[in-house]
Structure formats: C-alpha cells, structure tokens
C-alpha cells in the first residue's frame, strides 16, 4: 500500500481521501493527481492498493480500500482488463458480454458500498483505435468498438440511477484524439493505460470532479463586452458597426460566445457584465440589435463604467453575495486579464487566444463549471436571482493602481505627424468617438496640411507595455490662437483600449514642455459634447484646467496657465521625437 500527501494542516485546502482502484499501472499518475488536486483547492490523501487487486479490494471488508474511511473510490479499469469476448455479428453473445462487464462493475460497487461510505467514481472506457472492418465495427454486434460503446452506454445509464459518479475518460480521450491517447507500447511494457503526455490532463479532470464534490466549482461568468461578446467597440463603431451577425466569420465567433453563455445560464451559472463603457451605450446592442442572443434580462449584474475591472468584479461579487473564487472573468484584453489576476487572484481568468473563434473552446476546456449532478435548484437558479441587469455600487478600489501601472513597464512615444503615420492618424481622427474632446474630423489632405504647418503642434502618441506595442493610441493637435501667447487644443483623442493608464497626464506634460519652450503662457481647451463622448466631460477638470465658460449646448471652455500647471508624472518611460525648435510662431 502507498499512502501519500497527508492532508493534515494544509488549510485552506479541503481534505479529500480518494482510493484508486485500478488494474493498470498508476505510479505515473498518482503524483500528478496529488499536485493537480491542490491546484483545485483539494488536499488529496491518495490510497493506492497494490497492483491488480481490484476485486479483492472492493469485496473484502477489511481491505485497504474499505478500511481507510475514504471519501471516494475511483474505479479506473482499463478495457483490456475486462472479460471482453469478441463475438463478431452475434447479437446475443455481445449483449451478454456487455451485461457481464456491467455486472462486474456493479459487483465492485456493491462491495465498496457494503463495506464503506465512499462514493464510487466510475471511469468509462476510451475506444480503441484499431477496427476489424472500418465503419461497420461501430454497429456490428460483438466487435470491440460495439462492445465498448454498449458498455459505456449502459454504465452511464447505471450511474444515472445509482447516484454514483461517471468520469468520462472516453470523452477526454476523444478530445485529444484516440490515436494520441492510446500507447500500445507503454501498455505492453508496463501496463501503463494511456500516453504519458496526457497524465496532466487526466489528473486535471479527476481533480475537477473532486473539487465539484466539495462545492468548489465556479458559479458566475462575468463577461467583457467589446471584442468579447461582440466584435468591435460599441462606443466607437455604433450598433450598426459591431460584428455580431450570422454569415460574418467574426460575428459568428462572438455569437458562439453568446450561445455558450446562454447554455451555461440555462444550467444554473449566473451571468454578469463588466465593461468599460458608458452604461447606456453598453446596453444598446442588447436592446436593439436583432441578432444578439444575449439580452439584458439574462444578466444579474451589469457593470458598464470607466472604473478598473478589479473594482467592478469585487462589486459584482458583493452584489451577488458570492465569494471571488466562484467567479470566472472573460476578457479579450490581456491587460485587463492581467490586472484582475494581480488584484483578485481568486478570480479565474482564462487566457483567451487571439482568434475569437477559439474563445468558447478555451473557456470550456478549463472546466471551471464542472458539476457532478444537475439539481432542480440549478435549473431555476438563473430566475431565482433577479435578472434585472442591476448596477452594483462600487466600494473600495481593489488594489493600488499606481503600483500596477508601474509594473506594466510602459513606454510612451511622442512623434510629430509624419507621412508614415498619416493613415492611422486619419483613421483615429475619424473613428474615435468616446475619448474625443471635440470630435473634429479631418481628411487626409487636411492632415497633410497640418503636418506641414509650422505653427501647429501636432503629436502622434504611441504606447508600449510588457504585453506588446499598442501602436498609435492618441492624437493631439494644438493651434495658436489669434491672441498672443495662447495655444488652443483643437483635437485631443485617445483609444479607449489604454484608458486608465494615465496617458493623458503624459500628453499634457509633453504639451506644456513645448508651450514653455516657445513662450506660450496659456493653454485653452474645449469640450464639445456628443452622444458618445460623455466620458471626457471632466477631462480638463481632472487635468487641472479651470472652466472659463459653458454654452447652452453644453460645450465648455477651459484654460490652464502654463506656469501654474502641475501635471502628474505617471510611471512610464518617455521618448519624445518632437523637436522644440521646429515650432515657430508668427509674430503677433
């Protein structure tokens, strides 16, 4: 007998004692099981009786398995150890063979049930690769495939009735490919039941079941919206511009995310939203887009604001009265994912691939929502929570944002307008709606003119961080006013992707440097409200400008005295390619 990993004093891990009953070699699996269980919050006591003693162990009252006060026994039987009689084409014999195999498994179960209180976890059988005929093997009675199909089917039906648990090894093996799974050389050499490459995967699936038995499965899926639930950015692209239609590859990928989320909701997973958007904008697709599958009433909490996502996720957890370790957060943006992992490590954050076509597979493969039963309560849970897409109130910030920004290792680069950046400059100027103070649109020839104009300070701003280069993310155009010594900010816009990084403070500092160098004493700015740029209504106030005037239509006018300005200096490396001397002014 081997007894491993005593679980005493491993809190907060939950102790679990598992017996492993197998007639194949398990020595390569057992260390992985213990380690993987820990990752799922389980301190695993693993009891492994000597090799190939399945029946003795199950049927004797004082066996190690029956005498160790186990929580569960995993019956990991290989099909090569079952009494399988090939009877090609003979229905009666093959039915009897299937019944005999099931009877054998039931006998083991009855023994364990009679002598202990352990739950039985039955492993089903991975289909062998080799066939006698080809496709015919599947439906011709008495072939190996037909027998194993039958055994798996009957075992599932039996488990449904008995209340035991099924571990779908067959499904796991099919996911990775049966010809990868089965390793006849290892079986022949040492009765190792499947390729060693899949020991971690196997262990993970076992650990998920144990964690589910201990109530550790996740209960909530929080979704980002832009480029996760739909393609594109609702605030910039508008409801007509986002990709969520059938027939569009990108749109279908995001529809698949919606379909999967709906399926999860149906089985009792609570859905919530955490999106950087204005609330009303974020709700528009759910209310008006005809192809959306998800609707507002599917969400219990709906957080669309400009706060950091960790703070929002905390607020959602508090609103639901659920702990953070019951939450899964899905977001296409690696920086958002990283921030949530840093601030709220209890939250599960799948590392989504680049291609949204694989979002659903990635989410599903992690097994966050593993369950061993489906209860009536699960089926009604979604409606038990008031699905009113409620806004949760934000409490304290989830962590030190400055520290986080520092760790992002950002580099900001300022460059004058140039020919190579022109296409992107024009695109940003004509596409940015949200972080855009004046929403002035310019054509490519107009930008060419601005580039050449020595009186205009025009900057393109790029940002890189440890996740990569974000490219050009901000544009600023500053023109001299007729009045001497005043610069007016004609255009200031930024991509929402880098919101919350304090880029605007760096831009202001750079602007002030140039203003200072050419003897400008006042910088003025205008906020022109549109349907989409409410998020920057306090932009100038936050940067220390004072309000000069406000018009009827909500347009506000701001100014900042250069020698009184005290811009923040956020933690990032600065590179500026804007020469001071190129800025000339016509004498007043």
């Amino acid at each position: 007998m081997e007894k491993k990993a005593p679980s005493s004093n491993l809190a907060p891990l939950t102790p679990f004692s598992l017996g492993l009953l197998s007639n194949s070699t398990t020595e390569l699996i057992t260390p992985a099981l213990i380690a993987t269980a820990a990752r799922h919050g389980i301190a695993l006591d693993l009891i492994v009786p000597p090799y190939d003693q399945v029946a003795q162990q199950a049927l004797t009252h004082d066996s190690i398995i029956n005498n160790s006060n186990l929580d569960a026994v995993l019956l990991a039987i290989d099909f090569r150890s079952l009494p399988l009689q090939l009877s090609v084409g003979e229905l009666e014999t093959s039915t009897a063979t299937i019944s005999a195999a099931i009877a054998y498994l039931k006998t083991l179960r009855d023994g364990i049930k009679a002598h202990s209180k352990a739950v039985c976890i039955f492993q089903n059988f991975a289909m062998p690769v080799e066939s006698l005929f080809g496709s015919l093997d599947r439906h011709l009675p008495g072939t190996l495939r037909n027998l194993i199909d039958g055994i798996n089917r009957e075992l599932a039906a039996f488990v449904n009735e008995s209340g035991d648990i099924l571990f779908d090894v067959s499904g796991v093996a099919e996911c990775v490919g049966l010809s990868n799974w089965h390793a006849p050389d290892l079986w022949n050499m040492a009765k190792i039941p499947f390729s060693c490459d899949f020991v971690p995967l196997y262990a993970d699936h076992v650990a998920r079941i144990l964690a589910a038995l201990r109530g550790k499965s996740r209960k909530v899926l929080i979704l980002d919206l832009d480029n996760t639930v739909w393609g594109g950015i609702i605030g910039d692209d508008g409801v007509e511009g986002i990709q969520i239609a059938q027939g569009d590859a990108r749109g279908e990928a995001h529809l698949a995310v919606q379909r999967f989320a709906l399926g999860l909701r149906q089985r009792g997973i609570i859905l919530a939203v955490s999106s950087k958007n204005t609330d009303e904008t974020a709700r528009i697709p759910f209310e008006t887009h005809p192809e959306m599958l998800l609707r507002l009433h599917h969400f219990t909490v709906f957080q669309a604001n400009w706060n950091d996502k960790a703070t929002n996720i905390k607020a959602i957890a508090e609103e639901l009265s659920l702990s953070l370790d019951s939450i899964v957060f899905m977001d296409d943006n690696p920086v958002e994912r990283d921030l949530v992992r840093q601030f709220l490590p209890q939250v599960a954050v799948p590392e989504l691939p680049e291609d949204p076509a694989y979002y659903v597979r990635t989410l599903s493969a992690a097994g966050y929502f593993e369950a061993v039963t489906l209860t009536d309560e699960d089926l009604t849970r979604a409606s038990a929570y008031a699905d009113n897409a409620k806004r949760a109130s934000l409490k304290h910030s989830a962590g030190d944002m400055d520290e986080y920004l520092e760790a992002l290792d950002m580099t900001i680069t300022f460059m004058p307008f140039d020919a190579s950046g022109r296409t992107r400059i024009v695109q940003l100027i004509n596409k940015s709606n949200q972080y855009n103070l004046t929403t002035r649109r310019y054509t490519e020839p107009q930008i060419a003119d601005i580039t050449e104009d020595p009186e205009v300070l025009a900057m393109q701003i790029r940002l890189a961080d440890r996740f990569g280069d974000n490219g050009m993310i901000s544009v600023l155009i500053c023109r001299p006013e007729a009045q001497k010594n005043i610069w007016n900010i004609d255009t200031w816009l930024m991509s929402c992707r880098v919101l919350g990084r304090k880029v605007e403070h760096m831009v202001l500092a750079e602007l002030l440097q140039h203003a200072n160098a050419v003897g400008i004493d006042t910088v003025t700015g205008t906020y022109r409200p549109t349907a989409k740029n409410k998020m920057v209504s306090d932009h100038y106030a936050r940067l220390g400008f004072s309000k000069v005037d406000e018009a009827q239509d909500g347009t506000s006018y701001w100014k900042l005295l250069v020698n009184e300005a005290n811009p923040q200096r956020p933690p990032m490396k600065l590179i500026s390619h804007i020469a001071f001397k190129t800025l000339e002014r016509t004498p007043a």
Partner: protein
C-alpha cells in the same frame, strides 16, 4: 550527438528521474548501482529519454539494455 553530449543529458535525466544530486553515471552503471531503479522508474527513465532525445524506443530495444553504456549507444544510433 556524440557520447559526451549524450552523457551530459543522461546525467541530468538520472538526477531528475531518481531524484539525485549530480549522479556520476558511467557506461558500466547498471540498475543495481542506483537506489530506486525499479521497474517503474525504469519506464520513467525510458519515457524521459525518449522525450529528451526525441526518439522512440521499442520494448525489444529496452529489453536488450543491460548498462547505461548500452543505453547511450542506442541513443547515439538513433540520433545520428
């Protein structure tokens, strides 16, 4: 790959598989010389060797091995 390179890799593999600190294996080393070299760790050793050198060893290949020297020769013949 030459014998010196193979032995460098094998030393690391033996340390890992048998949980040792800087094993000094020689061509004459056999299972008797190393504590814990049982049938299971033998399989673990073979699997690790297969992965490290990116080769596939059959049961009869493995069955013929008597010493570490045999293993190194086999690896060399497969990696040439």
């Amino acid at each position: 790959m030459n014998q010196a390179q193979i032995y460098a890799h094998l030393n690391a593999i033996f340390d890992d598989v048998f949980d040792l600190d800087s094993t000094e294996i020689t061509p004459e080393t056999t299972a008797k010389d190393i504590e814990g070299w049982d049938s299971i760790s033998h399989i673990r050793l073979i699997i690790t060797v297969e992965k490290k050198f990116n080769i596939k060893l059959s049961a009869s290949d493995v069955g013929r091995l008597e010493t570490v020297g045999d293993l190194a020769t086999l690896i060399q013949s497969r990696t040439e």
